[in-house]
Structure formats: structure tokens, C-alpha cells
């Protein structure tokens, strides 16, 4: 017993003498990201001999559950990867610690303005390595076969192309012009893109009030639901094709002319699609009209478990994860757009056929200030589904959405 104690003290002493600190990093399980982080950790440890980083991943659908139950038990990560939309919920429940104030200056001056969403109540809770935006993916072969040389620039062009590309056999669709996906990316499209394009604003500046209940908001919403009701773009992606990302899978299968999706889908589409495809910036009302986009990101934050020497080591690792060098590597390895302004301006990126439209969109993209991501997504998805699946009057459905979402915001800010 005494011998064991002596050994323990000696070991502890040796560890202290070396200044060895072990920190833990958590992210969800996504192959290219896991491989990238493993590589990065090797580099980081070589440059910082006193710090060891343990990397743990969990399946996406169990990820938040693991975080929620581990941190209160003192078992979880020191540095954690999270979607920016989860941030207010996590902060309120005490799962993140604010970053030291000097990081705010770095974020404000060197990062894409989207990254402002990493702040809650004036405090900064983490930083992103990469950001993403939306664009129109199109099947060039199908477009050409239907006599279109270029992807649509305006919604009018978009709708006439979509109608022409939609093919029916009896009462079943064999091809869609556009695969609608309210629970995919289309809820962002309505909230952040169409409402602003039609001259409205989704939320007040402090994010506490729903403003889309006005005429512009309703016009944007009705315009979207009319794609199916009036303009014959096809049907809902998940009514057309099976699977969890039906709209994207159907596009990859070559049965859909156009989808709107995030830059995170590039990898899947690139490896799956066996035809000519292209990417274009989102259509606008008319040429020269206001461009808007939805931007989002995954960020790295520090949990309350990172204290003392672990806190210093965790900050060092976080800095490394968001450094210019890492962001360049991330783009090559994972294919996500860098969050630093300096890298986004790189002409190699803006002129890239696939990345270009996404990168250009970042300049005018906005991130929704979610306080209850799952609840707010459901409000918008339900508003659309009530019209498309239950034939409810759009104005009535929209009024319900305004009331429901305002209730969610009030519940958070009370």
C-alpha cells in the first residue's frame, strides 16, 4: 500500500516536472473531419511537447446527449465542437465558459462576420475553423437536354426551368425540376433568403422579436409554397425519393434538375453524382436585385472542465484549430470554406467552379440567431408543411408560425 503511494507520488512528480497536461477534444463522427483532427493533433503535440490531446467522437444523433450527461459528471471534453445554433442553449445550461476578452478583437477583425454568432450577450464562447453557405446545385446534363445552357439567375428563370424539367408518368413523378425540402435546407431559404429578398427582415436586431409577420414575409412564404401549388416544380423531396436526405439523394441519383444545399454537401455530391453538375449562386428576384444567403458554422468552445493548466492548454489548442494554417488544411482535407477573411479573399477560391459561388455568397450571408434550433426549425418546417400537406391557407399558417416562434423566443429570453 505504502509502496503504491510512493510510486504514485513519484509519477505525479515526474508529470508535474515535465509540465505534462492532457486535454480532451470532442466532435461528432464524420470521417473526413475525424481524420483531419487526428492529423492536426499530431502536428500540435509535436509543437507543444507539454500537451497531450485526447480525441473522442460520437455518432451525430448521440452527440448532444453525451455532452449533456458527461460534463456535469466531470467526465467530458475540455474543448468541444458544436453547431453555432446550439450555442445559446448550451450557454444557458452552463456547458461553455466564455473566452478571454482578447479573443473578441481577433474574431471581430479577422473572421467572417458570420462568426459574430459565436457571441451570446456580448461574450465570446468559441471560434470556427470553417463556415458554410447555400447555393444552387444543378444537373448540367438534364438542363442541357431540356435546352438550357446556363443555370437560372432569377427566380422566374428558376421556375420556368424547374417546370420544364418536371416529368410525370401517370400520377407518379419520374423526374423533378426542383426537390423541395422544408426539413432540409429550405427552411433556411425561406427564413434568411426569401424574406430578405422580398424586402423584409426575419428578426429584430437583438434577435428577440419575430418580424416576418409583415407583408414582405408573407409574400416570401407564399412565393415558396407556390412553387409546388402553382409553378409545378415537382413535389417534396421525401415524397419523391426515400431516405433521410431524400432531396440530395435524388439529385445524386440523377433524377432531379436542381436542389438548394449547403457547401457541406459538396463532398457527398462530388463522390456520388455520376453526371455533369454545377453550382450557382442562389437566384434573385431580378438581375441586380439584393443578394442574400444563409451562413452557418461549427465552432470550438471551452467547457467548464477546462480549468487551471488545462485551460491554458485548451486555449492553445483552440487557437491552433482556428489558425490560418489549419483553415487552409481544413479546406483541402474536409472541403469546408475557411472562416478567416484573409483566406476567403484568395482568388484561387473565389474563381473555383464549385467553391466560388459559396465563397462569394459568404460576403452577404447571415446566420439565424437560434435560441432553440430544433424548435425554430420545426416552426418553419411545420408552417410550410401545413400548406403543402394539409392545404391550409398560407396566411393562416404564417400567422401561426409567427406566434409559435415568438413564444419560443420569449421562453428563452424571459
Amino acid at each position: 500500500m505504502r509502496k503504491a503511494l510512493v510510486i504514485l507520488i513519484v509519477l505525479l512528480g515526474a508529470a508535474l516536472a515535465q509540465g505534462q497536461v492532457t486535454i480532451t477534444y470532442w466532435q461528432y463522427d464524420f470521417r473526413s473531419k475525424v481524420e483531419a483532427v487526428n492529423e492536426l493533433i499530431k502536428k500540435f503535440e509535436a509543437a507543444n511537447p507539454g500537451i497531450k490531446v485526447q480525441h473522442q467522437t460520437f455518432p451525430f444523433d448521440a452527440y448532444q446527449q453525451k455532452v449533456a450527461s458527461s460534463i456535469p459528471a466531470g467526465q467530458g471534453p475540455d474543448v468541444v465542437n458544436l453547431f453555432y445554433g446550439w450555442l445559446p442553449t448550451w450557454v444557458k445550461a452552463g456547458y461553455l465558459q466564455p473566452m478571454p476578452a482578447e479573443y473578441i478583437k481577433v474574431l471581430d477583425s479577422e473572421f467572417s462576420s458570420l462568426a459574430q454568432a459565436a457571441k451570446v450577450g456580448g461574450k465570446l464562447y468559441g471560434m470556427p475553423t470553417a463556415v458554410r453557405s447555400l447555393a444552387l446545385f444543378y444537373n448540367r446534363d438534364l438542363l442541357n437536354a431540356a435546352g438550357f445552357k446556363n443555370p437560372p439567375k432569377t427566380w422566374d428563370e428558376f421556375l420556368s426551368m424547374a417546370a420544364k424539367l418536371t416529368i410525370k408518368d401517370g400520377n407518379r413523378f419520374t423526374q423533378l425540376g426542383y426537390a423541395m425540402a422544408p426539413d432540409g435546407q429550405d427552411h433556411h431559404l425561406v427564413r434568411e433568403v426569401l424574406i430578405r429578398q422580398f424586402g423584409g427582415r426575419p428578426y429584430s436586431d437583438d434577435g428577440r422579436r419575430v418580424l416576418y409577420g409583415d407583408a414582405a414575409g408573407l409574400r416570401a412564404f407564399t412565393f415558396y409554397t407556390d412553387w409546388l401549388k402553382k409553378y409545378n416544380v415537382g413535389t417534396l423531396g421525401n415524397q419523391f425519393f426515400p431516405g433521410n436526405n431524400a432531396y440530395r439523394d435524388a439529385f445524386i441519383a440523377g433524377k432531379v434538375g436542381m436542389i438548394i444545399d449547403g457547401s457541406f454537401a459538396i463532398g457527398t455530391i462530388r463522390s456520388g453524382a455520376k453526371f455533369n453538375w454545377g453550382v450557382a449562386e442562389l437566384p434573385v428576384e431580378k438581375i441586380g436585385a439584393r443578394k442574400v444567403n444563409y451562413g452557418s458554422f461549427w465552432m470550438h468552445g471551452l467547457t467548464p472542465l477546462a480549468t487551471g493548466p488545462k485551460q491554458a492548454a485548451s486555449l492553445k489548442f483552440l487557437e491552433f484549430l482556428v489558425s490560418e494554417e489549419t483553415q487552409r488544411y481544413w479546406l483541402e482535407k474536409v472541403g469546408e470554406l475557411p472562416a478567416r477573411k484573409s483566406l476567403i479573399k484568395d482568388p484561387k477560391l473565389t474563381l473555383d467552379k464549385v467553391f466560388g459561388p459559396f465563397v462569394l455568397s459568404l460576403a452577404y450571408a447571415k446566420a439565424t440567431p437560434f435560441v432553440d434550433e430544433i424548435g425554430q426549425r420545426k416552426v418553419m418546417t411545420d408552417a410550410i408543411n401545413r400548406v403543402l400537406l394539409e392545404n391550409k391557407d398560407p396566411a393562416e399558417s404564417w400567422r401561426m408560425a409567427v406566434a409559435e416562434e415568438q413564444k419560443l423566443l420569449d421562453a428563452f429570453w424571459k
Binding site: D61, Q65, A93, N238, P242, L389, E390
Partner: protein, 304 residues
């Protein structure tokens, strides 16, 4: 105590056996107390606080979460759906299970093969089942609509329709549980002594009378067990619902949302573990009440 029994150190064999039995029982008892019962009480305790990762920052809110439930439209929806799943699923599951077990009991060849086939879905992961069914039930490309088309029935939206999704999910779950039901009923059927049937036949009983007055009453214990387990299963329905509509869980339009899924969302998407704990307590009370009623109603002594 029998004085003739050999004793060692003044303890009789019977006492020693009882002590050993108690010692062995204490292990699972400790397990139940600390792993099952204790967390249940903790949930009750937790439901009185607003959640925070740091225990010292959890404000006591008393019954506020229970009050919050009264004004929660989605909770009401989840409650209605959960009851609908149970009322639809349990009787259907019992009926189909009994019918198939009776048929299997009548065949003597390949019974094991049939049983294995019916049991296979029960041991298949629910996520895999959900995935395959979402393909088969696809409105546009699914085999089910293909078959309906042969009979001139127009394609049905199934999981993508607010009015059909709940029934469709129930069917998938019933299909999955069927194997378990069949095995239970088959065991029950094979435990009924042949003599009863023979005696009744000599008395001139018809097949229906045999079933009504011998099979059914003697299967009663199995039915009670099946009904109670089945009800608890449907009241806790989660995995299938999550996987059958992964991007709009509980949708479309909340039509498939269950209490268990709602609890999960409150706890692990909204990090509101206090409110989630309060709904857990509600679910516990519902399951307890329904189970007690079922045990009372179904295990009444039947005259035969």
C-alpha cells in the same frame, strides 16, 4: 423445524439455504435499488429544479415544470399520439400474434423454420428496419405502392402524410414485435395439457367451444404478460419514430411525436433536463396507472 435434520454450528440446513438465497437475492436487489430505483427518485428531485451543468447553480423552481406542462401544446400532442399508438398497436399485436401462434401450433413440420422467420424482425436493429421500410413505403418508388398499383389503388404518401404517418409507424412496430408475441403464445399453447381437449371432444365440444373455453382461458397469463409488456413498449416508443423520419423527427407536423421522443428532445436538444425529468415523472405515472388497471382487469379469475 425438523429436529432430525443434521445441523452444523447450530444452524439448520433450511436456515442456511434461506440465508444463501437471501445473499444471492441481495445482489440483484442492490442493482435494482441503485441502478433503477435511485435514478427514478433522482428524476423526481431533478424535476423541481432548473437545469444547469453546475449543481450549485440549479435554482429550485418547485412545481413550475408541472405547471408548464398544462400550457404545452406539443406535449399534449405527444400524449395523444402515444395513447393512439398504444390503443392501436397493442390489440393488433396480440390478435395477430395469437392467430399466427394458433396456425403454427397446428403445423408439425418446419415449425422451427417458421418460428425463426417470424422471430427474425424482433432481433433486427430498429434503425435498420426503419431504413428499409422508408424505402419500401416511399410514395414514388416504394414496393408497397407498386403492389397497391396492381390493384388499382393510387399511390399513398404513408410516412410523409400527417394523417397516415402514425398508423404506418404502428404497423412497422407491430410487424417487428410480432415474432416475440408468437413465441410467447406458442409456449403458452404448448403448455395446455392435451387431455383437456380430448375430454372436451368426448363431451361433443366444437372447435370454437374448445378455443373459447379451453385455449383462451388457459392462455390468460400469457395474454396479461403480453398486454402489459406491449403497452409499456408502445408507451416508451422512440427508436422507430426517430429513424423513420430522421430530418423531421416526430413529424410531419408532429403527427408521429411520442412522449419518449419529446423527453429526449427537451433533455438533449434543449438541455432542459429539469422539464424533461418532469415529463418522465408524468410518463412513469401513466405507465404505472395503466399497468395496475391492466393487471386488475386481465388477471381476473376466469370461469371455465
Amino acid at each position: 423445524m425438523r429436529p432430525s435434520e443434521p445441523t452444523r454450528r447450530g444452524v439448520s440446513l433450511a436456515t442456511r439455504e434461506a440465508l444463501w438465497a437471501l445473499a444471492f437475492l441481495a445482489i440483484p436487489l442492490a442493482f435494482f435499488l441503485f441502478i433503477r430505483i435511485w435514478p427514478a427518485f433522482q428524476a423526481l428531485w431533478l424535476s423541481l429544479f432548473n437545469w444547469h451543468a453546475d449543481p450549485s447553480q440549479r435554482p429550485f423552481v418547485g412545481l413550475e415544470h408541472y405547471h408548464q406542462m398544462l400550457d404545452d401544446r406539443l406535449l399534449l400532442k405527444a400524449l395523444q399520439n402515444t395513447l393512439a399508438y398504444t390503443l392501436l398497436g397493442v390489440p393488433l399485436q396480440l390478435l395477430l400474434g395469437l392467430c399466427i401462434a394458433l396456425l403454427l401450433n397446428a403445423v408439425t413440420r418446419f415449425r422451427e423454420v417458421f418460428r425463426a422467420i417470424y422471430f427474425a424482425p424482433y432481433v433486427t436493429p430498429a434503425a435498420a428496419i426503419a431504413w428499409v421500410f422508408s424505402w419500401m413505403l416511399s410514395p414514388n418508388f416504394g414496393i408497397v405502392n407498386e403492389i397497391l398499383g396492381v390493384f388499382g389503388i393510387p399511390p399513398q404518401p404513408f410516412l410523409t402524410s400527417p394523417s397516415q404517418a402514425l398508423v404506418t409507424v404502428t404497423m412497422v412496430v407491430v410487424w417487428q414485435n410480432l415474432g416475440f408475441q408468437v413465441v410467447l403464445f406458442l409456449a403458452g399453447l404448448q403448455n395446455i395439457p392435451r387431455d383437456y381437449y380430448e375430454a372436451a371432444r368426448i363431451d361433443g365440444a366444437s372447435n370454437w367451444q374448445l378455443f373459447r373455453h379451453i385455449t383462451l382461458p388457459l392462455l390468460n397469463p400469457v395474454m396479461v404478460f403480453s398486454a402489459v409488456i406491449g403497452t409499456i413498449g408502445f408507451l416508451q416508443l422512440f427508436t422507430q419514430v426517430v429513424n423513420l423520419n430522421f430530418t423531421d423527427q416526430g413529424g410531419p407536423l408532429g403527427s408521429t411525436l411520442t412522449l419518449a421522443l419529446y423527453i429526449y428532445q427537451q433533455a438533449f436538444a434543449r438541455f432542459d433536463l429539469g422539464y424533461a425529468a418532469a415529463i418522465t415523472v408524468l410518463l412513469f405515472v401513466i405507465i404505472l396507472a395503466i399497468t395496475l388497471v391492466q393487471l386488475r382487469l386481465l388477471s381476473r379469475r376466469v370461469e371455465y
